[in-house]
């Protein structure tokens, strides 16, 4: 999807603003949003991937929202899509909270175990071959144009680069939208800044990880 999330190379955003001594979460609710999401993922709850949901947020809202505001909104959307929440549930509950209602508490040791297990090292994924392109080979990024969720940044589309390294095959980002279960080899592709933004006069290298489905031979 050609959404606002795809920001690489955009201009006009101004300076980066680091915050010294930044906490993990600035406000309690941010940690709760993060914790709820990880709990749902760790327990196979009724939500999908965050990336595809975030990029569907209307551009104006996306830019006006903080990171955890976007997550909270995406969570609501995913739960509504899966029938867990009815449209007015959250608003009605907010009224209840305003009237003095409280957030109920529940303990579930098995769920705690599941979220903690999700933060432990996992057995290594079996590397598989099947790569069509070789390290050092020139490739060009296809001019992907689709409303389906993908991970092919606009700034590399149509641009040629060189395969830097082969990465293990992975699930296609498109699977969730298309209802498929496909995997494809991945690559780190190296691009010269002078090819990405020819008029900038920059001399650095940008390395982008891409699925094989986004690549073609550079002729």
């Amino acid at each position: 999807m050609d959404g606002i999330h795809d920001m690489g190379g955009m201009q006009g955003f101004g300076a980066v603003a680091p915050e010294p001594g930044e906490p993990a979460f600035h406000e309690r609710w941010e940690g709760r949003v993060f914790g709820m999401s990880l709990t749902l993922w760790a327990t196979g709850g009724p939500i999908g991937g965050m990336r595809s949901q975030l990029e569907r947020i209307q551009p104006g809202r996306y830019l006006a929202s903080s990171y955890y505001e976007r997550w909270e909104h995406a969570l609501e959307e995913m739960l509504a899509e899966r029938g867990v929440l009815a449209p007015a549930d959250v608003d009605r509950r907010i009224e209840g909270l305003r009237a003095g209602g409280r957030v109920p508490e529940r303990s579930d040791p098995a769920m705690v175990e599941a979220v903690l297990a999700d933060m432990q090292p996992r057995p290594p994924a079996e590397p598989e071959g099947g790569h069509r392109f070789a390290a050092g080979q020139p490739v060009r990024v296809r001019r992907i144009s689709t409303a389906v969720h993908n991970r092919c940044p606009r700034y590399v589309r149509g641009v040629s680069g060189v395969v830097e390294r082969l990465l293990a095959p992975d699930w296609l980002p498109e699977n969730e939208d298309l209802g498929e279960q496909r995997r494809a080899p991945c690559y780190t592709v190296s691009f010269a800044a002078s090819d990405l933004w020819p008029d900038d006069g920059a001399d650095h290298t940008v390395l982008v990880d891409l699925w094989e489905t986004y690549l073609e031979e550079a002729g």
Partner: protein, 205 residues
Amino acid sequence: MSEGHHHAREKSPSELRTMALEALLVERGLISTDAVDAVVEQFQNEIGPRRGARMVARAWVDPAYRERLLADGTAAAAEMGYGGAEGERLVCVANTPDTHNAIVCTLCSCYPWPVLGVPPVWYKSPPYRARMVREPRVVLREFGLELPEATAIRIWDSSAEVRYIVLPMRPDGTEHLDEEGLADLVTRDCMVGVAVPQVTEGVAA
């Protein structure tokens, strides 16, 4: 139930929405309060850049570990007990006298949680995501990092499933430091690649 709503401060809309969502999900049995507590506690107290700093420090003192770290970041992290979500495919890229590396995620905010914790706001912000791939020298200068013109800059956009961490160079004047002392020099920003380790007066031999 002791802290009544009557003396609570005004809650923000996001706070209220989040509380409402938590209430609904708890009632539906989809989450538990203690599971959410556990996630927050882990990322506030256990999972943060100190982990990555320990890996970097070990790589500085142990050439065999450095080799393993660069060959398979996931396994090298697992050796230290670090891994899990957003760290299943960890790749470590090493700075050299000729090359400086930095990481970004232009499409969202992918970040190696198990070794750096949750990303800072600036890493997730439009200016960093938009500009780091296009004018890294300017951005690095804004972070106070002025690199020689001859230094090659390599920006890693974590657009797929690999998560990156930068292995900075060990600064001179640190020969007397042990691993913990070395880890103290390695900030989150050094491992994102927007800073390099600094040796302050008190630390230098």
